[in-house]
């Protein structure tokens, strides 16, 4: 659940981040800077783990557009998290090709392994998981991806999922 305090946390865009915004906006014709909205929201999410209202307001100010123009985009596309997530979000493809080769069983296994239902965050804050629609890797299913790099894992088995979770847990602690 989104907590009020999460939504209120002010964000600060570093000069490095702003510089990346500038680079993106330079690609478009003068006056068409709104084209940078999707890539900029990706950068914000990679930096903060999700896209909060204060962050969206700052993006709107940067792009010189209305905040509602940012909200409507962030809420339309599935990749933007509008509430805090685990450090690692396991996104499992749940569409036909992957389901034919066991994606639903993999999702059951992940739920059991992490002990949280779809969309919720583990107590240690490390993981959340969800089913997503076709990830365009139907020949190599079941597959999952993990942002912000969207690293891809193919031909999943219960064992490979266990190892992945173990490795990520160790990585987070080091």
């Amino acid at each position: 659940m989104l907590r009020v305090e999460d939504a209120q946390v002010p964000v600060d865009f570093s000069p490095e981040l702003i510089s990346k915004f500038d680079d993106i906006v330079s690609r478009y014709p003068k006056g068409k800077q709104k084209s940078g909205l999707l890539p900029i929201l990706h950068l914000v999410q990679a930096e903060f783990g999700w896209v909060s209202v204060p962050a969206m307001d700052k993006v709107a100010a940067y792009l010189e557009i209305l905040p509602i123009e940012v909200y409507e985009v962030a809420s339309f596309y599935t990749m933007y998290f509008l509430r805090p997530q685990g450090k690692y979000v396991l996104e499992v493809c749940r569409t036909s090709g992957c389901c034919l080769v066991g994606a639903e069983k993999i999702m059951d296994h992940i739920e059991q392994k992490l002990g949280v239902p779809e969309g919720e965050v583990t107590a240690d804050g490390l993981f959340s998981w969800r089913g997503v629609e076709c990830l365009a890797a139907c020949g190599f299913g079941p597959v999952l991806q993990i942002g912000p790099e969207y690293t891809f894992y193919e031909n999943l088995t219960n064992d490979s999922v266990d190892k992945l979770i173990t490795d990520l847990t160790a990585k987070a602690k080091n």
Binding site: K34, F76, M79, G97, D108, V132
Partner: protein
């Protein structure tokens, strides 16, 4: 074995780098086009090639290019549609991952032909690794003088950028893609005006699929006539087919159009047959949006001739007994696959991905999903199949973009060909027998097929 025009060098180590790609003849089409051909001559070669849009619609690419308006003093754009997210389709991801320079090369030649000085590759946001691969390849090409100002000393300037999407299947529709590229929700625009007249920022724009743009490279290198010699009839050239589901050897294959479907499924050169010694039950031949066909109809046309992998042969018989080549997303279902569950899976997908702009699609896809869910989970009614067909008819053709059709066809075709299985679910399915894609709960429904 067919000719490999796109994937010939796919297994060469380092082919993702400029130097290795160049050593294999890469970027020759840019040199030929910019130094020896006029933009109109390139468009003419693409017309001669008979190349049809490889994203799914199959519209002639050269004709699409020739519609581009050319008003004085107005920018023109080429936008590559790399928002691959049609269930069953993964060829563009493969191509961009392993041989990114082929796409870059095609973008340069195509941009030159269309008079675009700024071009975009709109990649679905989930493909961040591919976005990084493309950005690196663009930087390499620019450093070697194939992009940027005064390409190869010709006076032609081109900037090429990669734009990530935000995760929305609808952005594969060209006008929704342009809306998204302008930083908006991916709501399709009403056509006309078509993008060729008013596209990105209201300027004349061509939107082409990754594979279509890559195919421009061999067309320019070898000539449109040579390309047109490959394939069969009006299905010219080669096609990337992404094969998934219950196949022994799933993967991306480049075929000459006209290859028999049976050979594609069963020969060792391609998919090697059905996994685990099972029988083939059904096939979705061109991505989830095309009608599903039972095994006997995917292997033979209405006239009992071998079905071929081509636009015409696959659609032979219309939607009663045929389907479409679409994007080449080929999903095979073995005898254990549950058609009801799969149809529900597709319906959920389209409901999830409907942009919500048109009422028939917004409401109808959700309604179909609910009815299919109750059928799958043991709460179905005998009238549900007629209800689903009725809903699908009310969506089809009544929406701004083709997503409504794409949602309707899989449901209508599944009921048309597998009605017995749906009816069986009404009386026999239950919560306890679902959550399993296998068909353990459904007694042998299949006619005994004798296949190769």
């Amino acid at each position: 074995m067919g000719r490999k025009l796109l994937l010939e060098h796919i297994n060469v180590p380092g082919i993702n780098t400029f130097d290795v790609y160049r050593s294999k003849g890469g970027y020759a089409s840019v040199e030929k086009a910019i130094k020896t051909m006029s933009p109109d001559a390139i468009v003419e070669e693409v017309k001669k090639s008979g190349l049809r849009g490889r994203g799914g619609a199959g519209f002639p690419t050269g004709m699409k290019w020739s519609f581009l308006a050319k008003p004085e003093g107005v920018a023109r754009y080429l936008v590559c549609n790399a928002d691959e997210s049609e269930p069953g389709t993964f060829k563009d991801r493969y191509l961009m991952t392993y041989i990114p320079h082929l796409l870059i090369e095609g973008m340069i030649v195509s941009s030159f032909a269309l008079g675009a000085n700024t071009s975009f590759i709109y990649v679905r946001g989930e493909m961040m690794p591919q976005i990084r691969i493309l950005e690196k390849a663009i930087a390499e090409a620019k450093a070697k003088g194939f992009l940027g100002k005064n390409i190869l000393g010709s006076g032609y300037d081109l900037e090429l950028y990669v734009q990530p999407g935000g995760g929305a299947y609808i952005c594969g529709e060209e006008t929704a893609l342009l809306e998204s590229l302008e930083g908006k929700r991916g709501n399709p625009r009403i056509k006309p005006p078509f993008p060729a007249i008013a596209g990105l920022y209201g300027c004349p724009t061509v939107v082409n699929n990754v594979e279509s743009i890559a195919a421009v490279v061999p067309i320019v290198n070898e000539g449109g006539d040579e390309y047109a010699k490959l394939g069969i009839g009006r299905s010219t050239g080669t096609k990337l087919i992404s094969a998934g589901g219950n196949l022994k050897k799933p993967g991306v294959y480049e075929i000459d159009l006209g290859l028999p479907v049976e050979e594609f499924i069963y020969s060792d050169e391609y998919c090697g047959g059905i996994a685990n010694g099972k029988r083939l039950k059904a096939v979705v031949a061109g991505g989830s949006s095309v009608p599903i066909l039972p095994a006997n109809l995917i292997l033979k046309t209405v006239n009992n001739e071998p079905r071929l992998m081509s636009y015409e042969s696959l659609s032979d018989g219309g939607f009663v007994s045929g389907t479409m080549l679409g994007s080449g997303g080929f999903i095979a279902y073995d005898e254990d696959a549950c058609i009801v569950r799969n149809t529900w899976n597709f319906a959920r997908f389209y409901h999830h991905e409907s942009c919500g702009q048109c009422s028939p699609c917004r409401e109808g896809t959700g309604w179909m999903e609910k009815v299919l869910h109750r059928l799958e989970y043991g709460h179905g009614r005998q009238s549900d199949m007629d209800l689903l067909v009725d809903i699908s008819k009310k969506i089809e053709g009544n929406t701004i973009c083709p997503l409504g059709d794409a949602a309707a066809w899989p449901v209508a075709s599944a009921i048309r060909h597998f009605r017995d299985e749906f009816e069986w679910h009404v009386t026999n399915a239950s919560e306890a027998t679902t959550r399993n894609y296998g068909l353990a709960h459904y007694a042998d429904p299949l006619p005994k097929l004798e296949t190769a």
